[in-house]
């Protein structure tokens, strides 16, 4: 996937200006940056929820092959977990019975066997996140966009959901573009990390390659010799960026 010279504006000064980035097939790529740097807008532009002012996005994929996971689960509260997962399958013409079977097998795969009849209200935060994941993955996306999807989960649940996701993504060869605030998460998950500058008029500042081999165990990834130095570099670059716009915080 290629993003070329993308500028996004909501009326005033553009939040994001002239952003270009490449995501190779099967790679896990993260976008990190200060709040308001247009990371979410970039994802929204890629999937077509936000019309860019200029520039273009080339995914080389059909619209249905791109999935997006938001920070909120946004499950339909009046549908059971199984019905929620089957929803997108139905939109793409799968018959209901078949869609429900497929949904069940995805729930199963994400560790939610037996929870298909529950309404979202009667699921925990981690379970809802897994349902939302199943909902997106059931459509077999080639490219998965994620906008801080795990921010609302507590640390232990988060670690487990994320590890399951990584295993799945590695096995299925899905390309991922993740937006996150969490440098730790960015480095343990990604092959490539992009750093954005402070908005408005945010730009892509830096690109870092993460040479930790796959398949990855997220706990062990942190003990890889490349992790520490990369983390420090990313951290000091990000701090400098935040401090440049906000001297009080740098002091």
């Amino acid at each position: 996937m290629h993003v070329r010279d993308l500028t996004i504006s909501y009326g005033d000064a553009p939040v994001l200006e002239g952003a270009s980035l490449d995501v190779d097939k099967g790679r896990f790529v993260s976008l990190v940056g200060p709040s308001g740097s247009g990371k979410s807008s970039l994802l929204r532009a890629i999937i077509g929820l936000q019309k860019p002012l200029s520039g273009n996005v080339e995914t080389g994929l059909a619209r249905s092959q791109v999935g997006i996971l938001f920070q909120d689960d946004a499950l339909l509260p009046w549908r059971t977990a199984r019905d929620n997962v089957a929803l997108g399958l139905g939109f793409h013409g799968m018959h209901r019975r078949e869609a429900l079977q497929e949904a069940e097998s995805w729930l199963d795969r994400l560790g939610l066997a037996g929870f298909g009849d529950r309404f979202p209200r009667h699921l925990s935060g981690g379970q809802r996140k897994r349902v939302a994941l199943a909902q997106v993955l059931a459509l077999r996306p080639k490219l998965l966009l994620m906008d801080e999807p795990f921010a609302s989960l507590d640390a232990i649940v988060r670690a487990r959901v994320v590890q399951d996701l990584v295993d799945l993504v590695e096995r299925e060869g899905i390309t991922v573009l993740l937006v996150t605030h969490d440098l730790n998460e960015a480095l343990t998950l990604s092959d490539v990390v992009y750093l954005l500058s402070h908005g408005p008029r945010a730009r892509i500042m830096q690109q870092y390659s993460v040479p930790i081999p796959r398949p990855r165990d997220l706990v062990r990834a942190r003990t890889h010799p490349a992790f520490g130095p990369l983390y420090e570099r990313l951290w000091s670059d990000l701090s400098r960026e935040v401090g440049r716009e906000n001297p009080a915080e740098a002091a």
Binding site: L49, L76, F91, R121
Partner: protein, 251 residues
């Protein structure tokens, strides 16, 4: 002393019975003027009389027909107008001030006007029940649609849902939820409209009977009718409560 909330109904019924007994005793001891405050047994007798003579049925029928007619028409019109206003900005612009005004006034003051326009038959009662319910439903649906969760809309769109999918999976269920939340109020409004309409000018109906009881200074009959109306509305509340519980089982 700590009150067990599960036993509240026992205390409530006990108190109710005690009050009735005290009231009855005061009546028998000639402490109350039977003309103004008939004892419970006299009210029960009046109630019994209504049913044993068979007179009551025609009045019940008239009130029910007017109330349910106004309720159904009012809900239908309220939903239709609410949907149109939510979808077409021009309609919203034109309708909103009228509805706001109608909402601000006590709409029962229209009863004499409807009696002049539509006569003392059932039409004027249906019209009053209708206008009470329709305005309520208009606002319920109008705000219901406007407050539909944007995240759910985006979720369905990114899963590949078209406009029809949005209506079916997001808009209809959200609006149904807000209608359900106001159904009991609408039932109450419908009976208020029918009875007040009959009160003003009619030859049949519970409202007519009440005004008859007033003109003949028959407090026992009037209280009997109040009890009857309460029983009727409670019955309908129970029915709509069950419907609500079934349709909102996800909540």
């Amino acid at each position: 002393m700590a009150l067990d909330p599960k036993r509240a109904w026992i205390r409530q019924w006990l108190t109710f019975v005690v009050v009735l007994l005290l009231w009855e005793a005061a009546g028998r001891a000639n402490l109350l003027n039977p003309l103004f405050a008939p004892s419970p047994s006299e009210i029960a007798l009046a109630l019994f009389g209504l049913f044993s003579s068979g007179n009551i049925w025609t009045h019940l029928e008239a009130t029910f027909t007017a109330a349910l007619g106004g309720l159904v028409l009012g809900i239908a019109a309220g939903i239709a107008l609410g949907v149109v206003a939510a979808l077409v900005p021009l309609i919203a612009e034109l309708l909103q001030p009228v509805m706001t005004l109608l909402n601000a006034i006590p709409r029962v003051i229209l009863a004499p006007l409807f009696a002049i326009w539509l006569g003392i038959g059932i039409a004027s009662k249906v019209a009053l029940a209708f206008i009470l319910v329709a305005v309520l439903m208009f606002f319920t649906v109008f705000t219901g649609i406007r407050q539909v969760d944007r995240k759910l809309v985006e979720r369905v769109v990114t899963l590949g849902g078209d406009r029809w999918a949005l209506v079916r999976h997001v808009y209809l269920p959200s609006v149904a939820a807000s209608i359900m939340g106001h159904l009991k109020v609408a039932v109450g409004f419908a009976f208020t409209g029918a009875i007040v309409g009959e009160f003003v000018a009619a030859s049949r109906g519970l409202g007519y009977l009440i005004s008859f009881a007033q003109s003949t200074y028959n407090a026992a009959l009037m209280l009997a009718l109040v009890m009857l109306i309460m029983a009727v509305v409670l019955l309908i509340f129970a029915a709509s409560g069950r419907l609500e519980k079934y349709l909102m089982r996800w909540n």
